[in-house]
């Protein structure tokens, strides 16, 4: 992969942990050296996200590594299931367990027969391929395939935000703005912010929403899966700028066959135009070149707006 002077690129294991850690009532058990988990907890804290899950490590020592003993994993799984009774327990490999070839999947499959009320979900990525994007895509789909349930009560005026990830700089503000706009313009309710601020229950009920708002391309597979399985349409775009946002709202309105609240649009447009006017004046007087850096969808959206 290479030499980095600044931050190396996060890998797929980090994508997994950063995705799961903000889900309330989620349980995660990592099979690997304790330091990996401890470092992750401290590193994660700087992303301005809230840890909502149960997270633990089994730790691992030289004997486990040399002899391939996995007893501590069996005991830890049993302990978590009996003490916490989580509906879902994600059992994660580590770089060490991957390198020595521990078969987390088989272990979970064997142990599953002991637990009726907890689903063991094996995450076998050891983090060696170094691909955050693929990791995010995979974990999103794994969560949805294992947790989303058949709809009980379809809600025609609700949606899920899909692809809200804590590695996005303004993930929280972006979600809140989407919620504000969709409430104001279309009187829609957000059911699930997947996954930066949600609960296991909300994920289970994602199938009850009438549309999915996809704000990140890594979440597209999730949207397509939900469309195919539960007939939920999706809009894939990030709203930036007056034109972009208006278009985005229109797309959602058309998909759901709803009328937009023009008063809300007029009010917001008026405020926005005042701000845009000032920026245009400054740019005219002091033209600047800019570098846009960030995740693919953010860069694409801001570039259109800029």
């Amino acid at each position: 992969m290479g030499l980095y002077k600044f931050f190396p690129e996060p890998n797929e294991k980090m994508a997994e942990l950063w995705t799961l850690i903000t889900i309330k009532d989620c349980a995660i058990l990592e099979y690997g050296p304790a330091g990996t988990t401890h470092f992750a907890i401290e590193g994660f804290g700087k992303l301005q996200a809230t840890k909502r899950c149960y997270l633990a490590t089994t730790d691992i020592d030289g004997s486990d590594v040399a002899l391939g003993i996995t007893k501590r994993l069996d005991l830890a799984i049993d302990e978590v299931v009996k003490n916490l009774s989580p509906k879902y327990l994600f059992v994660c490999a580590s770089s060490v367990s991957s390198t020595i070839g521990t078969d987390i999947l088989s272990i979970c499959q064997m142990l599953q027969t002991n637990y009726d009320n907890t689903k063991l979900i094996a995450l076998t990525n050891g983090g060696l391929s170094g691909n955050f994007t693929k990791g995010l895509e995979d974990i999103y789909l794994t969560i949805v395939k294992n947790i989303v349930q058949e709809p009980k009560n379809k809600n025609l005026k609700s949606y899920n935000i899909i692809g809200s990830s804590i590695d996005d700089l303004y993930f929280n503000a972006d979600s809140l703005e989407i919620i504000r706009m969709l409430k104001g313009a279309l009187d829609l309710e957000c059911r699930c912010i997947f996954t930066s601020n949600c609960t296991i229950e909300e994920i289970e009920a994602m199938s009850e929403s009438s549309i999915n708002i996809v704000i990140r391309k890594e979440a597209l597979k999730v949207a397509k899966y939900l469309e195919e399985k539960y007939n939920i349409p999706y809009i894939y775009d990030r709203p930036y700028g007056l034109l972009g946002t208006t278009q985005w709202l229109n797309d959602i309105a058309n998909t759901l066959n709803l009328e937009i609240n023009n008063d809300f649009i007029d009010e917001d447009t008026k405020l926005l135009k005042e701000q845009l006017g000032q920026i245009r004046r400054l740019n005219f007087m002091y033209p600047k070149k800019c570098l846009i850096s960030g995740n693919y969808d953010t860069v694409k959206g801001i570039e259109r707006f800029a």
Binding site: P8, P10, G43, L128
Partner: protein, 436 residues
């Protein structure tokens, strides 16, 4: 019997590290890894570049920590060599050599090469690599292995890094009344009792490793007449320096025993040919008086030992000798000399449950049975407060010399008294409202 406590050994059954059990199989947050320890030492050393060899996870989080430690990315000289899947399978020593040569071109005086779990697992020979490459680069190459699956915590990372730094030292002409301070990771020592005494005697500090150091000062470290070892992690370094450069050392590692403090001061006097005069007696007497006063509050109070910078057994012995009690102590691992204090504790009738450190998740279960007055170390303050357990992480207990046991005893007494005072205040309020 409590399920959690059932898993644990009592102190009398602790003979080796494997006797120290974890209070649960699912652990939170877990110990820090030795890589963390290496970065604690290396991050702030001017003139040193560090390259971490490992996965993105290890290198990313470590970089994050290193940047924090340095107060900004511009000041940080930590590099990351991230191994690809192909490299893990097939190895790539050539790629690593190329990377080190590239770092060398930025002209650091030393390059610390740190291998982590995965490269160690697959047998990367970084010691051999350094030997092989040394002639091709200008910087001095120092290998440090930090495989967590073989090492219990971040402490071996600290020890190994300090030892590795000794390879950069060169013979120097000795400068009289000059000392090196090894292993101190706390606040500035300038206002400590020990350092004020040394300053009064005209003794100067050449190097404080790792808190205030540079590669240049490490290279010249052998000019000191004496090494003061202020933390056990620096003992192997001190021994190496004694062997290579004939520099004696005195251990002054957060000693709490007043007689041992006096003995350590005497050793310093002898090594530097100085005399602290009657100040030692005065300081010792002051300590005796303050500790006796604090004892009034401490006697009979119980504590759980979580984690501090002190040696767990020396710390526990000190408090138990003042009349405190404990039924639960958490231990990182056993170190040389611990058996002496374990025996002393058992002789005092103190035989607590022992548990592996850094696992606070399941302690609710323990508190139901143990019901301590005080928790010493880092824990969830909300949980402790709900259970009526006072907590201290030894804030302000950072001196050296006789002041240290004095600070500890008075600090604990103050913390325990504040709990009592608030209860009394509530009683007063209830009475004022007409209650009994």
């Amino acid at each position: 019997m409590n399920e959690t406590l059932n898993k644990l050994n009592k102190l009398s059954n602790i003979k080796e590290n494997k006797d120290i059990k974890s209070c649960s199989n699912a652990i939170f947050p877990g110990s820090h890894c030795p890589l963390f320890g290496a970065t604690m030492i290396a991050a702030k050393l001017e003139g040193l570049a560090t390259v971490i060899i490992g996965t993105s996870e290890c290198t990313y989080y470590n970089k994050d920590f290193s940047v924090l430690r340095n107060g900004g990315i511009d000041k940080d000289n930590t590099w990351s060599y991230v191994m690809s899947e192909k490299e893990v399978v097939f190895g790539n020593q050539d790629g690593l050599k190329k990377a080190i040569k590239q770092i060398d071109q930025t002209n650091p005086k030393g390059i610390l090469i740190v291998s982590t779990c995965v490269p160690e697992l697959i047998g990367y020979d970084i010691i051999g690599l350094c030997n092989d490459l040394q002639d091709d680069v200008n910087a001095i190459l120092m290998p440090v292995q930090t495989e967590h699956f073989n090492l219990s915590s971040h402490m071996p990372g600290i020890t190994r890094t300090l030892e590795a730094l000794s390879s950069i030292m060169k013979p120097q002409e000795k400068v009289e009344k000059t000392v090196n301070v090894l292993g101190w990771r706390g606040k500035s020592l300038k206002n400590s009792e020990l350092f004020k005494l040394l300053e009064e005697q005209g003794v100067s500090v050449h190097l404080t490793l790792p808190t205030e150091g540079s590669i240049d000062s490490i290279i010249e470290a052998p000019k000191a007449e004496l090494n003061l070892v202020l933390d056990f992690t620096a003992l192997p370094l001190a021994k190496k320096m004694q062997e290579r450069f004939n520099i004696p050392y005195v251990e002054f590692d957060r000693i709490l025993d007043l007689d041992k403090i006096e003995a350590a001061y005497k050793e310093i006097e002898k090594a530097l040919n100085i005399s602290f005069g009657d100040k030692l007696e005065k300081f010792k007497n002051d300590a005796v008086i303050s500790i006796e006063e604090a004892k009034n509050t401490l006697i009979g109070k119980s504590f759980v030992y979580g984690n501090t910078l002190f040696n767990v057994f020396k710390f526990t012995h000190f408090l138990v000798s003042l009349g405190m009690k404990t039924d639960y102590i958490q231990i990182r691992e056993l170190y040389e000399g611990d058996e002496i204090y374990i025996d002393k504790l058992l002789e005092l009738g103190c035989n607590p449950y022992t548990a592996k450190i850094a696992n606070i998740g399941p302690l609710d279960d323990v508190y139901k049975v143990i019901k301590p007055n005080l928790y010493i170390g880092h824990e969830d303050p909300v949980r402790l407060s709900r259970l009526g357990i006072v907590q201290t992480a030894n804030e302000g207990v950072d001196g050296l010399g006789f002041e240290l046991p004095m600070q500890l005893a008075t600090s604990l007494a103050k913390v325990l008294n504040s709990k009592d005072n608030s209860d009394n205040a509530m009683l007063k309020m209830m009475k004022a409202m007409g209650g009994n």
